[in-house]
Symmetry: C2
Subunit: 102 residues, 2 copies
DNA sequence: TTATATGTTCACAAATATATGAACTTATGT
DNA sequence: ACATAAGTTCATATATTTGTGAACATATAA
């Protein structure tokens, strides 16, 4: 079912660490080691997060010798993330405004 | 932390029924009853799904007498969903292409 | 060959999210 | 006041996701 597949893509974004990774990838490709250091999570945990995103088509993976490199599969991923961030900011601003009226 | 809040917005989209609801809302506002009939889920379940989306700023809710009406809080929600759908379609097309080469 | 470094996979415990039905609140009609 | 209809909330059973460390596979170096 299309809604389930669509939701699965959303799920692949729905974790703080994965959002952080998408943010740090931006335009560039990064190696596993570099992402590992920047995020500070356990390597097995990172490997699992990355593999979820690869499976769902968020990232593409390239292996070179012992090393793995990751990048966004398309700039649409960044764009979608940016829009969701704006939805968040709009909401935070609204509650901020509400507080001011008190 | 911003990544957690951002992820929470994504989580609010990360369910097949909620994607379906966002799709059916589009431009228009719909009543609880109408969404209930179109989705066919249990009313308590629907109420909970809707409230998650309202809490995270995806939807806005308007109450009128006994009835509740919902709409997207901003067109950005649709746009983000559309982008994620495109990420999905791109991936499906790629596996499709891969199959053709066999 | 042996050792080492890099990621991945696995098993499993803990944390979260989801579905369900009953109870509840509130507005409206009689 | 009483009954009814519309949603919401609650408790809880189930399912899914996540984090952890150990085991594993593989490429490179000594």
């Amino acid at each position: 079912m299309i809604y389930q597949l669509h939701a699965d893509v959303c799920k692949a974004l729905a974790h703080a660490i994965r959002i952080e990774i998408i943010d740090m990838l931006g335009e560039s490709e990064l190696g596993f080691r570099e992402i590992l250091e920047k995020t500070g999570v356990a390597k097995s945990s990172l490997s699992q997060h990355l593999s979820v995103m690869v499976e769902k088509g968020i990232l593409t993976q390239r292996k070179e010798g012992l090393n793995s490199y990751f990048k966004l599969s398309t700039p649409k991923v960044s764009e979608a993330c940016q829009l969701m961030r704006e939805v968040l900011v709009d909401r935070l601003e609204k509650t901020q405004d509400l507080l001011k009226t008190l």
